[in-house]
């Protein structure tokens, strides 16, 4: 039964795992001073609109959704918390081992596979990093995989499509997010032995819980305090944390969004599609 005191959190249903993740988090908050429920959106644009319209109190946003929310609120939205893994997110350029490709400049005239156009890690930032290294789109043969538009790269599908293009020799290098690459490494898949890191970006910040100024700070503080108390050593908490890909909730590092803000501005990314 819904309660007026419940914090309503929005999330995007990027996979079937989203349901057990948010049911687990809701259950964790049940007996706290800040009980919550969740609403699932089919894409981040819909979620940002829902947040701005006041349908939800907090949105679990990607970095791209955060920048868009900031633009739409004149920078007044607040980032309440992130995963520890969000603070060290990176983009990897992956090629076949032995390719001789060892920096971004070496990708001139090569086939470069990029992910979905709304993915910070697989498209927006890699293109920005390439341009920063002196390569324009015309200098490379871009192989584009718009595989999961609306999910901002969350499904990892466009990263995997780009990696597959390297394996199938339809691309020389693939841009992938650190979540995808590090999960592949951890799984020890045979194919990974034939791949190598051509280049890796600096850290940047990925997701955060976003709230508008209209969400009372005292309610936000109680909710965030309980969120931060999730404990990796507690098996029930750990089950949820593992599914969501973190070991601890942390304050958001806002400086880690500066590169994406610059990239979206340079590329003329619209405030909404």
């Amino acid at each position: 039964m819904a309660s007026e005191n419940e914090v309503l959190v929005g999330a995007v249903a990027y996979s079937a795992n989203v349901v057990p993740i948010w049911e687990g988090i809701r259950d964790y908050f049940r007996d706290s001073d800040a009980p919550m429920d969740f609403v699932l959106y089919s894409n981040y644009e819909r979620q940002v609109e829902g947040l701005l319209a006041g349908h939800i109190d907090v949105a679990w946003n990607t970095n791209v959704a955060w920048v868009r929310t900031q633009r739409r609120t004149n920078g007044e939205a607040r980032a309440l918390a992130s995963r520890d893994t969000d603070l060290t997110f990176k983009t990897y350029m992956i090629s076949r081992a032995g390719s001789g490709l060892d920096d971004l400049a070496s990708l001139k005239a090569r086939r470069v596979a990029l992910g979905s156009r709304d993915s910070g890690q697989a498209r927006i930032l890699p293109m920005f990093f390439l341009e920063r290294a002196g390569l324009s789109a015309d200098d490379m043969d871009l192989v584009i995989f718009d595989s999961d538009v609306g999910k901002h790269g969350d499904t990892g599908k466009s990263d995997l499509d780009a990696l597959r293009a390297v394996i199938e020799d339809t691309a020389d290098v693939a841009a992938v997010g650190s979540n995808t690459w590090e999960a592949l490494l951890a799984a020890g898949d045979d194919t990974v032995a034939d791949l190598a890191v051509t280049w890796v970006s600096e850290n940047y910040t990925h997701c955060n819980f976003t709230a508008l100024p209209s969400f009372p700070a005292e309610r936000a503080d109680v909710w965030v305090e309980h969120l931060m108390a999730m404990d990796w050593e507690n098996p029930e908490h750990r089950r949820i944390l593992e599914l969501e890909g973190l070991t601890a909730w942390k304050p958001t590092d806002l400086a880690g969004y500066e590169t994406l803000v610059e990239a979206m501005q340079a590329q003329g990314t619209a405030d909404h599609w």
Partner: protein
Amino acid sequence: MSLDLTLRLIESVNATPAGSTALIDVTGTHDVSVAQRWAEATGNTILTVHPGAVEILRGRMTDPIAALPPDRRPGYRLWLYTNFHCNLACDYCCVSSSPRAVPRIVSSEDTAELVRQATAAGVEELFITGGEPFMLLDLDERLRAALPHLPTTVLTNAMVWQGERRTRLEALPREGLTFQISLDSATAELHDRHRGAGSFDRAIAGIRLAIELGFRVRVAATLGHDAGTAEIELIELFDSLDLDAEQRVVRRVAQQGAANEGLTVSRASLIPEVCATADGVWWHPVAAADPAMQVSTSWSPLDEVIDAVRDEYRQHRIRGDVLASSFPCA
């Protein structure tokens, strides 16, 4: 006992996201057959039967081979190394061919039998390579055995078409025959650095001769780390030879055979292109001297070898996709 198993199947598999797997404990072959019947009836897929457990994929399995373009599916193209000796000793040769290499020749008779089995197995095209196939004076006999049944491409350096070989070349059918001629750069320096002094000029002459004689020609470049801007310069040369997109191939050196550096390849990371040699069958022609890439010590019966290659590729891709679908995302 079956009811307990069925309830566990329903509970576990229905709670598993599509594309992910669930491991269900079973006892004995009866349980396995119950799980198989249940999976078939409910639109799920038994991936593996382990001792004491079955691994079930939530949902129907999509055949990874069907997802490939038809001409990249294993078994569409058959490669044949007719021999391993060569007039050149390229420093990146993936099978270490040279004038001193043991020839390991596949006879005309064996070639005819291989083509018969390939046609029966549904193979759509034949690629003949070596070594330098034209080192075999009677290569034309093999081509005459193959061409009525399969479009055939011969990989050649186009440098040995003199005397009797030239006569036999001119007498070859044009229909269905393509020569894929090696040329690594638009000027002599880079090409000759890896393939031997004077080889560039002779390759260019060979390309022009083949075109003049009315053969379909494809030009293939193999580029190493020192290629620099060779690929861009080659485009101009290809244009000057009036080659269309289908007649241009540019690939990178693989770290195989004589190559000390180059792309790393393995069965896990290559779409297989079944390749027969005098010594058996290999996963891919780029690695036909790598023991880890040998699929079989005999190419007969070819249909069974092709099926085995398809099965291995399918299993690997399914495993990879299952792994991919379980990634924690943002």
